[in-house]
């Protein structure tokens, strides 16, 4: 029951993968059912992790798999099934956000980060000290709200790294970015979230 949730990140051998890819291409019902069963919990979890509300996250999950099944005949098996499915999820989330209020190309978080340091690169506005337990509670309460402002690609980078715990190579394949690019995305999203959470203000005991 638990291994459904944790699901190993594609331990199949190359031959297994090729065979599965062929069955998926033929829209073999059992193969598709297998993929849906295996990745559904991960996709739903990622959608929730991106800060979507439950009903929206379920809709996005459903439409991710609908697209997967519709386009199954085009699956060449060059990438892992998981990369393919998560790629679809990413596109759905980006599309949804574009409809709502488009991702802006201008990103002021780099500026915000810069301003925390002096010209010698030392902190002038260091992170505020906060008790770890208090901060954790703060994160749980505030993170969905803070994620709303984050552009889709950064959001997905965060979700795939922190929630799905994927390695850099997998994430780069899903988001179609270079390793350097991924670094920039992670840097931006983490700073954005940290700034947002910090600006909400911490209450409770303060420790160093």
């Amino acid at each position: 029951m638990n291994d459904r949730v944790k699901s190993p990140d594609g331990e199949e051998t190359g031959a297994d993968q090729a065979a599965l890819a062929a069955r998926i291409r033929e829209r073999d019902q059992a193969a598709i059912q297998e993929v849906v069963h295996k990745y559904l919990p991960q996709i739903l979890r990622a959608a929730l992790g991106a800060g979507l509300e439950r009903p929206v996250a379920e809709d996005v999950t459903q439409s991710t798999f609908a697209t997967f099944i519709e386009s199954a005949h085009r699956f060449e098996g060059r990438s892992h099934v998981r990369t393919w499915v998560f790629g679809i999820l990413y596109k759905k989330i980006a599309e949804m956000r574009r409809k709502l209020k488009r991702d802006s190309e201008i990103d002021d978080i780099d500026e915000v980060f810069e301003q925390r340091f002096n010209s010698g690169g030392f902190w002038t506005q260091p992170p505020q000290p906060v008790d770890a337990g208090v901060f954790e509670r703060e994160v749980r309460q505030g993170i969905d709200d803070c994620l709303q402002e984050v552009p889709s690609k950064q959001k997905m980078a965060f979700v795939l790294r922190e929630i799905e715990e994927m390695d850099s190579e997998q994430i780069c394949n899903i988001l179609e970015v270079t390793r350097t690019n991924l670094g920039v995305l992670l840097h931006r999203v983490r700073n954005r979230l940290r700034e947002c959470l910090e600006s909400k203000g911490f209450e409770g005991p303060v420790g160093a």
């Binding site: 029951m1 459904r4 949730v5 019902q29 059992a30 598709i32 059912q33 849906v36 069963h37 559904l40 919990p41 739903l44 979890r45 929730l48 992790g49 439950r54 379920e58 999950t61 459903q62 798999f65 609908a66 099944i69 980060f113 810069e114 340091f117 010698g120 690169g121 030392f122 902190w123 260091p126 992170p127 000290p129 906060v130 770890a132 901060f135 954790e136 994160v139 749980r140 993170i143 965060f158 790294r161 922190e162 929630i163 715990e165 850099s168 390793r179 991924l182 670094g183 920039v184 992670l186 840097h187 983490r190 700073n191 979230l193 940290r194 959470l197 160093a208």
Partner: protein, 84 residues
């Protein structure tokens, strides 16, 4: 000597994994002596860990997973096929 901005950037970009030995040591040393950078790194770590824990709890709901799965397969293959 690395400065705080460089160390923070390395930490936030997950660059540590791809650094050469010397730079990795320098980054580690900086974190050892700099409380502010350590605090920064710790806060980023907590953000990730808390987000992970929160969502893991949210999907411990086998019933809604099963419902979702059924509805996806029914949409694709039709209800009659579902019980194969």
């Amino acid at each position: 000597m690395l400065n705080c901005k460089e160390v923070s950037r390395i930490v936030a970009s997950d660059e540590l994994e791809s650094l050469g030995m010397l730079k990795r040591l320098r980054t580690g040393f900086h974190l050892l002596i700099c409380r502010q950078c350590r605090r920064y790194a710790e806060q980023l770590r907590i953000i990730g860990a808390a987000a992970r824990k929160k969502v893991r709890n949210l999907i411990r709901d086998e019933e809604s997973l099963a419902r979702l799965e059924k509805s996806i397969l029914e949409d694709a293959f039709g209800a009659s096929n579902e019980k194969r």
